[in-house]
Amino acid sequence: MTGRTIVITSGKGGVGKTTATANIGTGLAMRGHKVIVIDTDIGLRNLDVIMGLENRIVYDLVNVIEGKCKMNQAMIRDKHDYELYLIPAAQTRDKNSIEPEQLRDLCAELEKEFDYVLIDCPAGIEQGFKNAIAAAQEAIIVTTPEVSAIRDADRVIGLLESSGLHRPRLIINRISPEMVKRGDMMDQKDVENLLAVEVIGLVPADENTVVAANRGIPVVHDRKSASGGAFLRIAARVDGEDIPLMDLEPKSGIFSKFRGLVGMNGRAYSHA
């Protein structure tokens, strides 16, 4: 078995890399694949919290790479009944504790055993980023429809391309359909035109994402929620299924209809 190693990155922090990793990983596992997610954000580990596996950590990524434990000792199986595993980051070390080659070798090992190896990349473009992208054959960029996040995504795409990761795909996270409709937020087309990469998913801003993260249960478990559904579709697209992107419709209320009538749909943001 040869799995695919996919890095999930963004450049800017706080746009939802870790949430996306947890949800895409869970989504792929729900589709019946054997999946492992690796948190490479050494020193600032989060993925275990989002997945609700914090209490089960014994060994971590640095222990594995330094040979202090066997690979499968550091793998934590997901609480749910899926073939989903996590290798957590070390919290007491830093990004320089591992080398890109070491992570590449580890992922090559894991690819033999798993269908998907997802790497949760730390923010920034320094050592941690270099470690994370070294092992991957594919990349998914997470951005939000904000100029700062898009600027960083643009930079990261350039860096990925120069290190041989061509055709990264894009998730636009935290889209607020109401704001897009009012013209206060960039829409999918604007982002797509600027970054000139394929969009693999649109995730609406949804309170359920936050609630789910706090409870340690990725939001894909709630298929009916807006963001859960979006992440499930992204997982399907990663898996090769051809699902068209859905237009995010604002929840229609009297107020938004009224706004539409009086023509307040002008664009108020600017491209920097």
Partner: protein
């Protein structure tokens, strides 16, 4: 025009040029040249001559040989050599060219040496590693024959090949090219392009662009969309106008050209010709 295989002699008014086939090996050229001059002995009894070596990369002693062949077999005196900037960059002349221009290109920022403007390089008079008499007499200035013959009167600027950037030029990427730069996509915010020649963007120019980076104020920036807030031509800097009236005028969509007129940068709709500059909107902040 006379033709003898690899060596062509072009006479144009009082100018005479020996144009030598770029593909032919040097020995053949030398032989042909000797033969031709022997045959035509008497015709070339007197005068100054320019040798155009084109793209070929001649070593210094080869140039000296050509010069001595011509001068011994006829009454001509070789005063100049012409060659293309590519051969200047890679040929043996590089050493001299560098020495001659090192001061003028002190602001060169990259690894790439900038061939000097106008392709005119005076070969220094004394070359210690060569017999003094062979070169010291050559007060040769190397020019690009073609730039001179260009009927369009194109500016005899740097003729280094244009650099084509074929995918989106992204934030954090930067390039300094000694010639023109053509981008077949967008230039995103945070990207930097510096070119000694013109910059053409077949997309939206949102990053920082510097045309005529080595000081050429005739350089232009052309873009299908020009929302960029900052760009530079030679030493002049364009800052997006902030007043509402100007903004509405200059931010109208469509291809734009930015150029320097009376010491400030102007931006005008690009209508396909360089000549229509006059209605430009001042773009100097």
């Amino acid at each position: 025009m006379l033709k003898t295989g690899v060596v062509q002699v072009a006479a144009k008014g009082t100018d005479v040029a020996f144009v030598i086939d770029e593909e032919a090996p040097f020995d053949v050229v030398a032989g042909e040249l000797r033969e031709y001059l022997a045959k035509q002995n008497g015709l070339w009894s007197k005068g100054n001559i320019t040798v155009n070596v084109g793209q070929r990369m001649l070593a210094r002693d080869e140039l000296t040989q050509v010069k001595s062949i011509i001068e011994t077999h006829s009454g001509l005196k070789v005063t100049r050599f012409w060659c293309s900037p590519e051969s200047l960059g890679t040929g043996d002349f590089q050493i001299e060219a560098k020495a001659a221009t090192v001061e003028s290109s002190a602001n060169t920022s990259g690894a790439q040496r900038q061939p000097p403007a106008h392709n005119e390089i005076a070969v220094p008079e004394s070359l210690p590693d060569l017999p003094a008499d062979s070169i010291s007499a050559v007060e040769s200035v190397i020019q690009d024959l073609r730039s001179r013959q260009n009927k369009n009167g194109a500016r005899s600027r740097n003729r280094t090949e244009a650099l084509f950037i074929k995918s989106t030029f992204r934030s954090g990427e930067s390039v300094h090219h000694p010639g023109d730069v053509v981008v077949l996509a967008d230039v995103n915010p945070g990207a930097e392009i510096a070119a000694d020649g013109d910059i053409v963007v077949l997309g939206s120019l949102k990053g920082w662009a510097h045309a005529g980076a080595s000081g050429d104020t005739k350089a232009v920036i052309i873009a299908l969309e020009l929302p960029s807030t900052r760009f530079q031509i030679a030493k002049y800097e364009g800052i997006s106008p902030t007043t509402a009236r100007r903004k509405s005028k200059s931010s109208a969509s469509g291809p734009k050209i930015a150029y320097v007129r009376s010491r400030s940068i102007h931006v005008a709709p690009f209508v396909g010709r360089f000549a229509r500059y006059s209605k430009g909107v001042p773009y100097d902040g």
